[in-house]
Subunit: 327 residues, 2 copies
DNA sequence: AAAAATTACTAAACCGGTTTAGGTGCAAAT
DNA sequence: ATTTGCACCTAAACCGGTTTAGTAATTTTT
């Protein structure tokens, strides 16, 4: 017989109410005698009572589950954050449901709907759009990695422009005199900010921004588009000797392309990339990277989300700094 | 006013029962007139009705949520499977809760308890122990990546021994004459199988298994233990010129150690490793890897778990093959 | 001694669905 | 003129908890 509060009540000769109070540790507060409390607890133990979380959630309106939604959970940057979010959430008694959007707003919307219907308490998301937030009012959201323009949510980001500036600047300091950038064909504000930082670094080095130095990759056909982008950069009348990649996926593919198609130039160019990942430690070309503070990002996401869930005053936006790692 | 079945019933002048039938598409089957059905559906649409998944789950006993539990979701092998599991689960209408065990049985048990209490329908797990399975009878489990000895569950594994044999064999074919192995200090059957495959390859090359060729790393202090393991292998009276790593984490750390401490030997040794990951494409030393069939693993895990959940006859165990990738 | 407060406990409503076991009324069959 | 069958619909129990608004008995206060 699967133990329920009702069964425990019957077996210890008290009401469901009493059992509920006792099992929730509110026995003293509710003036349940020590005797009765012991009896109830013993029965619960004896029957190996396991509370039904669903039933509790239904009646309290809180599921103690949060969503973690990113473009791709297998992207090392996101899976690292996922792990940390899981950790901080667990500390606060929350479980985590995860899903990948593939950077597709429709899929994102479906996921949010599904999570919302499942009565999840709130969502941490690296958003591809803001539609699902608009379509789901009164639902706690914390966005991270991207900040949507013209739309305010609780948000954790990094100083994209400044970090991009520093990364580009480092390339120049390390001897590059012509620096290209590989960006993504996508309308995301952090991309624009990173490009702005790049441009600013060029300016400060008395270089005009040359549009042929900016090449776009397409997320849906990444290997081929990066190959052709890099070919473009290397076949300029004055080829680049430094390349700035807007994120780890682009950089990883860039490394692949260079090892395969430009092996003779591996030590002639320098890379810079957002997101520090382990492999940058031992690949060629050398990569200067901007390490995002994963722990802080995850911790803040979880804290801000739970604050929102609990209706506390919420901090609107936090901007964190990266650490530039040279190699 | 948040729409519920009750509200819809009132507003369209029928009973909750009727609404429930209609919204579940069982209107015809239950002989609800076309007229009434339309009225109910219109009301639901007008009120933007969103079903409460919790309530449904509570009454049906099915949450349409599955758990995905691995040692570390940020390990690229597991995050790749996670992504695929999510995909196949979604196809079948299931959401996925994820958690990392850190290879700790107590944590594993806590996670399983939490998932079980949350009325999750079943769990896909790369187990660190079998205790939580024994402690949670009548709960659908599918294990993958590891097969626990003396304990039968629905299970997906790969041909560990054969793959390890092939990897080691390749090292010999590619010119290595002394091959060491880096293993993990952990009691997991797949580790033993992989070591067995390695030993078998040595035998077939008329070599006796030399215990000094087998070094152990400790998962909790991986960088230091791998360093000292590799030092051991390189300082033997006859140092190795091939190293077989039991998984991608070990190999990745091994690559790091070599780039840092043995840069002069990068092209003098050859690596072999389980789990093909992208970086193996462009690092030194060269890595021969065993690519696990992620799609098949994930698809089978999901299918077998759902079959179990639905009480269908379940296939007990599936063993898949890896693909050896040379570089 | 009556009123007020405290202790110890509970009935019943509620959360939002599903499902069982019927109940009408009307047409067809006996 | 009953009985049977069917089309159409619903009351009420149920899932397993939480919570409000109480009650009865005892103790304290006035």
């Amino acid at each position: 017989m699967k133990a329920s509060i009702k069964i425990i009540a019957e077996q210890s000769g008290v009401s469901k109410t009493t059992v509920s109070f006792v099992l929730n540790g509110r026995g003293d507060e509710k003036n349940i005698s020590a005797d009765t409390q012991k009896r109830v607890l013993d029965t619960a133990l004896r029957l190996n009572y396991q509370p039904n979380h669903l039933a509790r959630s239904l009646s309290t309106g809180r599921s103690y589950t949060i969503g973690f939604v990113v473009p791709d959970i297998s992207n090392p940057f996101f899976s690292r954050i996922a792990r940390l979010v899981e950790h901080y959430a667990e500390e606060k008694g929350y479980s985590v449901m995860m899903a990948s959007t593939d950077e597709k707003p429709e899929k994102e919307q479906k996921i949010i709907n599904s999570f919302h219907n499942r009565q999840i308490d709130g969502v941490i998301i690296a958003p591809s759009s803001v539609d699902m937030i608009k379509n789901t009012p009164n639902f706690p959201f914390v966005t991270f990695d991207r900040q949507m323009p013209n739309f305010r949510t609780a948000n954790i980001t990094i100083n994209n422009e400044e970090s991009a500036y520093q990364l580009t600047q480092k390339l120049f300091e390390r001897g590059c005199n012509r620096v290209g950038v590989v960006t993504l064909k996508a309308f995301l504000p952090n991309i624009k900010q990173r490009i702005d930082g790049y441009k600013k670094a060029l300016q400060d080095n008395k270089l005009i921004t040359d549009m042929e130095l900016i090449v776009e990759a397409n997320i849906n056909d990444i290997r081929a588009t990066i190959k052709s982008g890099i070919d473009t950069l290397m076949n300029l009348s004055r080829p680049v000797n430094g390349i700035f990649f807007l994120n780890n996926v682009l950089a990883t593919e860039g490394i692949w392309v260079f090892n395969r198609y430009y092996p003779q130039l591996l030590d002639k160019v320098l890379f810079a990339s957002f997101d520090n990942i382990d492999v940058f430690d031992y690949v060629q070309p050398k990569v200067i990277s901007a390490l995002q503070p994963g722990e802080e990002i995850a911790r803040n996401c979880v804290n801000m989300l739970i604050a929102q869930i609990e209706g506390k005053n919420l901090q609107e936006a936090i901007c964190l700094s990266t650490t530039i790692i040279e190699r």
